[in-house]
């Protein structure tokens, strides 16, 4: 068998090879299109978790090892400094949290939405991130938790600084998070200062998202903070997303556009916060109640459960 194949290679059985190449190329393209268009192959991914997760763990072992060495060998001074920095950060975070809470209250009151149960019922859960390198040109991370532990497709993910992205796929033991810098990702935002609404798209850069198609006369300044607007119902309103860094016009000069820097530490986070809504609102996944969109059907079991 080996000899036969060797001979073929020597006399460049190129025609047979070309035929095979065509067959494999077609197979690959068909697979890609199937994967892209439909969810059949997601099932396969879900089943493969048992093989894939151990490999992830092995790949992560050296990273953990280095980190352990660093922590064990780290001098007191370094640790002290790190500790101080963290404490300062905590204070800052606390202040921001308060500000954000105030902001949320104010916008809630201003918009006069009677039912914002979705916003107030938000709960978060810390989830570890696998420190492995997927394709660097697709902006995704893998969570060390999957559908077995309640991770669902569509859940928004944040870290201490801002919005990170959303869960796009789950297996039993892992969940894939699409970061907001991915070219296929967009998040509805509003300007924290003026309230102007826009959409922030990923462009494949770690440090920038694009806010296209703004009116030329829009009031936008460098340093403006963009918050999630809650439109579309996927992301809860009021989470910081990005800070405007550059303002310009698009290629035609017909619209203004801005480049903004994401606030979340997208590539450095080792732990992320998975947001989920309170059980009452998550029953119907179609319309996470944010007061936007068609009125929600009233859950039938609600009156029974309240007394």
């Amino acid at each position: 068998m080996a000899v036969a194949n060797e001979k073929q290679a020597l006399f460049s059985g190129s025609q047979a090879d070309t035929l095979r190449l065509i067959v494999y190329l077609i197979a690959a393209v068909v697979l890609m299109v199937t994967d892209y268009r439909s969810g059949y192959l997601q099932q396969l991914r879900a089943w493969s978790g048992a093989i894939v997760v151990p490999l992830y763990r092995i790949a992560q072992a050296p990273v953990d090892g280095f980190r352990w060495l660093y922590e064990a060998g780290g001098e007191r001074v370094t640790l002290k400094r790190e500790n101080d920095a963290l404490r300062a950060e905590l204070l800052l975070a606390q202040a921001r949290l308060n500000a954000a809470w105030l902001e949320a209250e104010r916008s809630h009151a201003a918009s006069g939405l009677a039912d914002a149960a979705g916003r107030h019922g938000l709960t978060g859960r810390m989830v570890d991130v696998f420190d492995i390198d997927l394709d660097p040109y697709r902006h995704r991370v893998v969570l060390d938790a999957g559908s077995a532990t309640g991770v669902r497709v569509g859940q928004p993910v944040i870290d201490a600084w801002g919005l990170v992205g959303q869960v796009t796929a789950t297996t039993g033991g892992t969940g894939t998070v699409l970061l907001l810098t991915d070219p296929t990702h967009a998040v509805p935002v509003r300007n924290g200062r003026t309230g102007q609404r826009a959409v922030a798209q990923g462009i494949g850069r770690d440090d920038r998202v694009l806010v296209p198609n703004l009116p030329l006369n829009s009031d936008l300044r460098e340093g403006d903070e963009l918050l999630s607007s809650g439109l579309g119902g996927r992301f809860p309103a009021g989470f910081p997303v990005a800070v405007v860094r550059e303002i310009g016009t698009d290629a035609n000069g017909a619209f203004a556009q801005a480049l903004a820097e994401p606030l979340a530490q997208l590539r450095l986070s080792r732990q992320l916060l998975l947001l989920s809504e309170s059980p009452v609102t998550s029953v119907d996944e179609g319309w996470p109640s944010d007061g936007v969109g068609p009125p929600q059907p009233v859950p039938a079991q609600d009156p029974a459960s309240t007394p």
Binding site: A28, M32, D35, A59, D133, Y137, V142, A169, P183
Partner: protein
């Protein structure tokens, strides 16, 4: 050392190592330099062990990578099949190249692979590659002579080793 004498097992070990190296995160700016380990593996296979470096095997290795990395099914498979096809087509010539000529050829192959990625990606969403996009091809090329030397060395040891 009996373990090292079973070529089938060696292949599986090399494949596992390549998968793990692909997953291993590199710190900071080094991440841009990460070579296409699987590509290097299949080039080596197609050159040195053509009965193993077949299109079918490249396809399967690629599907494994797609499963592991969460890329579209068939993406890595397509890339590896293209690489192996080219190597097999020019195998006789590549084998007689000196090491540095071979290195340049491998560089060209890996560069072609980057172009293939760009083509595939452009179906999903338009993207303009930054300069760093091409770096992995360069790293792969630089690593090639080292890999060849290591593999030769290993083979020598397996032949002359005790046991």
């Amino acid at each position: 050392m009996k373990l090292l004498r079973s070529p089938g097992l060696n292949f599986v070990l090399a494949l596992l190592l390549a998968y793990l190296a692909t997953l291993l995160p590199l710190p900071g700016a080094l991440a841009h330099f990460k070579p296409f380990w699987l590509g290097l593996l299949v080039i080596w296979l197609a050159l040195e062990q053509p009965w193993r470096g077949t299109l079918g095997r490249a396809f399967l290795i690629g599907l494994g990578a797609d499963l592991l990395l969460g890329t579209w099914f068939g993406e890595h498979a397509l890339r590896l099949v293209v690489i192996v096809f080219i190597v097999r087509r020019f195998r006789a010539r590549l084998r007689f190249f000196t090491l540095w000529q071979q290195t340049l050829a491998v560089g060209a192959l890996l560069l072609n692979d980057r172009v293939v990625i760009l083509m595939l990606r452009s179906f999903e969403s338009a993207m303009i590659p930054e300069a760093t996009f091409w770096l992995p091809a360069l790293t792969g090329m630089v690593l090639w002579p080292l890999l060849v030397m290591v593999s030769h060395d290993l083979r020598q040891r397996m032949r002359s080793g005790p046991g």
